[in-house]
């Protein structure tokens, strides 16, 4: 199993990053920090999906003069392009909300906000 994981070091890396991100989301009190954590989680999933498309010795899937097989799988890349855009959209909205919450409450610490409710 260890050998298997060593070979799949990309997968292991994304799981570790996923957990770090989740830890940040759960334990951090500051809303912005929470959201950076969420972004780490997001990128870890992206890294995982990109890793699915990798093939040993593969090149970028751009045909044309000089390109030679094998090429990496283009599908995960296409998915993650979309994924990245979705992530930045979510981030923009979340940060806007954080700005408004700060304007209203004067703090962006989750526990202080909870007390205000």
């Amino acid at each position: 199993m260890i050998a298997m994981l060593w070979q799949n070091i990309d997968y292991v890396g994304s799981v570790v990053l996923f957990c770090i991100g989740l830890y940040c989301v759960i334990t951090k009190n500051n809303l912005i920090k929470k959201f950076i954590g969420l972004n780490i989680m997001e990128t870890s999933v992206f890294a995982f999906i990109i890793a699915l498309g990798v093939v040993d010795g593969g090149e970028a899937p751009i045909m044309g003069a000089g390109a030679s097989a094998p090429f990496t799988n283009p599908i995960p890349q296409a998915l993650i392009l979309t994924g990245i855009v979705v992530a930045v959209s979510t981030t923009a909205l979340a940060l806007s909300l954080i700005i408004r919450i700060y304007e209203h409450c004067g703090t962006i610490e989750a526990d202080e906000l909870r007390e205000m409710e």
């Binding site: 009190n29 990245i84 930045v88």
Partner: protein, 80 residues
């Protein structure tokens, strides 16, 4: 050689992620996060995914970081 490079990149990513968590200064955390994105971008370039790498550089390291900076500028700089 290539595997070593992979390993270094992943270690860097994890280090950056941990640093983001440890940094109390939000501005610093955002900058480190942008570095994290750039490392990721390098990794993807190396994995034969230049389109994604470019997007990550522009969006992840660029726009996202700018948005974080703006938000930090309009709220607080330090985490309690």
């Amino acid at each position: 050689m290539s595997e070593l490079f992979d390993l270094v990149l992943i270690a860097l990513l994890i280090a950056c992620a941990l640093a983001v968590i440890r940094t109390k200064d939000l501005l610093g955390a955002a900058i480190i996060f942008s570095t994290y994105s750039l490392v990721l971008c390098l990794m993807w370039q190396h994995r034969g995914a230049p389109d994604v790498a470019m997007t990550e550089a522009a969006v992840g390291a660029g726009v996202t970081t700018v948005l974080f900076l703006v938000a930090i500028g309009r709220t607080v700089r330090r985490e309690k």
